[in-house]
Subunit: 243 residues, 2 copies
């Protein structure tokens, strides 16, 4: 079933109409009257519809079934990533979206070599949000993860700490594994915080502990800054019973 | 401790000497007499040494301790990947090395859009092996995973099937999860087989079942061909108690 993202308002109507980019896509696919399509609002709600009036410029639909998205993870995992170099953040947004992340939060830390200035930030956020939308479409998600930029490391800690499992990964931690952290008590929300190319500073790790985050290891090998969050996310999804 | 890769023969001598590229690297680092370095043979054996004679062109070392590499995973995971487009295979080689894969095996399948011809293969294999070596060095591994190219899908199935857990991932499988496959009996060796951009053909999935592979899902979202093996590898390492 072909999927189209529409606004929440559009999803709420009884006869949604595909217009603009969606109509062009539907035209390429040569959708005909009676065919079924899936409308998603990108917020986790979706609608099975059939085409009732296919014309040259628009496609009128009739709603068959409203439901919650079938492809969202039951566990909400937030990726907290210190600003890496630009292409790496884009890589992580795309892959974390596929792997089912709830949101991707970028923030500055001491050893970040790259940090967007306020001037370029708006444009970059738009670009990052588009990457998340396009990855959501490709992998069949009904919810587009939000990309969020925070202004300080302290703010990131405070926000991350509100999850049932608030975890920071640090290459010098050897005793506490991700498994130990996950297997002490149930969880519905998880924060996974990782450092930039040069790693986290020792004082930042202390700040995180004081803010209530648990510091864990991802094993004996030093993972690149773009590999660590995706490895941790895959493991959490596995642990949570997603696959 | 700085790490240098040397041959197995060089590692076996009582007074190994850093030459060539290694000597240039040691010079840049300004290694001095008495400093400790780690020599690795890329096969899982390593040697703690001290510098005994640093000259302009070479560095003579004395062996302090011989040991098995401390950073290798206890479980041997082989990645079997149908040829994707070139840059994706390179991506998977780099990341799978970081994540601790034992070897990376590429092979052709029905929907592969990219497959190196015999003429260019030798050069490409050299390049892929270099990527594995460089990723091993970066992440601190004592063993460089071998990159292997097989000539046919059947050959890949036959080789993959010899592992304790021989698993194929298929987007149309919904019942059997990776967790179910891993939690029925202990394992020391694992094969993870995934398809190319266009996915595996149904008849290929049947062939895999007949060859003894277990067909599993990686969850409700459709993962890109370069994401699936890394997601599965992360989950297996987690399941095996690596982190």
């Amino acid at each position: 079933m072909t999927r189209f993202f529409v606004t929440t308002e559009e999803l709420a109507t009884d006869s949604p109409i595909l217009t603009g980019e969606n109509a062009r896509h539907a035209k390429v696919l040569r959708l005909k009257n009676g065919e079924a399509v899936l409308l998603c609002d990108g917020q986790g709600q979706e609608c099975v519809c059939t085409v009732t009036d296919a014309t040259a410029d628009s496609f009128v639909l009739a709603v068959q079934e409203r439901r919650a998205s079938q492809t969202e993870a039951a566990v909400q995992v937030s990726i907290y990533m210190a600003f890496p170099k630009a292409d790496k953040l884009e890589h992580v947004i795309q892959k974390a979206t596929e792997l089912g992340a709830y949101e991707i939060v970028a923030f500055p830390s001491g050893r970040c070599v790259s940090k967007p200035d306020d001037k370029s930030l708006k444009k970059k956020l738009e670009r990052w949000q588009k990457i998340a939308a396009s990855a959501s479409e490709q992998c069949g998600r009904g919810r587009i993860p939000e990309v969020i930029v925070l202004g300080s490391f302290t703010e990131a800690l405070k926000r991350a700490a509100t999850a049932d499992k608030a975890l920071m990964f640090y290459e010098n931690e050897q005793a506490v594994t991700l498994r130990m952290a996950l297997q002490t008590g149930a969880y519905k929300t998880v924060s996974l915080l990782t450092g930039p190319e040069g790693g986290l500073e020792e004082r930042e790790v202390e700040m995180a502990r004081n803010a209530g985050l648990q510091v864990c290891t991802l094993g004996k090998r030093i993972l690149r800054c773009e590999t660590a969050p995706l490895c941790a996310l895959s493991a959490v999804m596995y642990d949570a019973g997603e696959f």
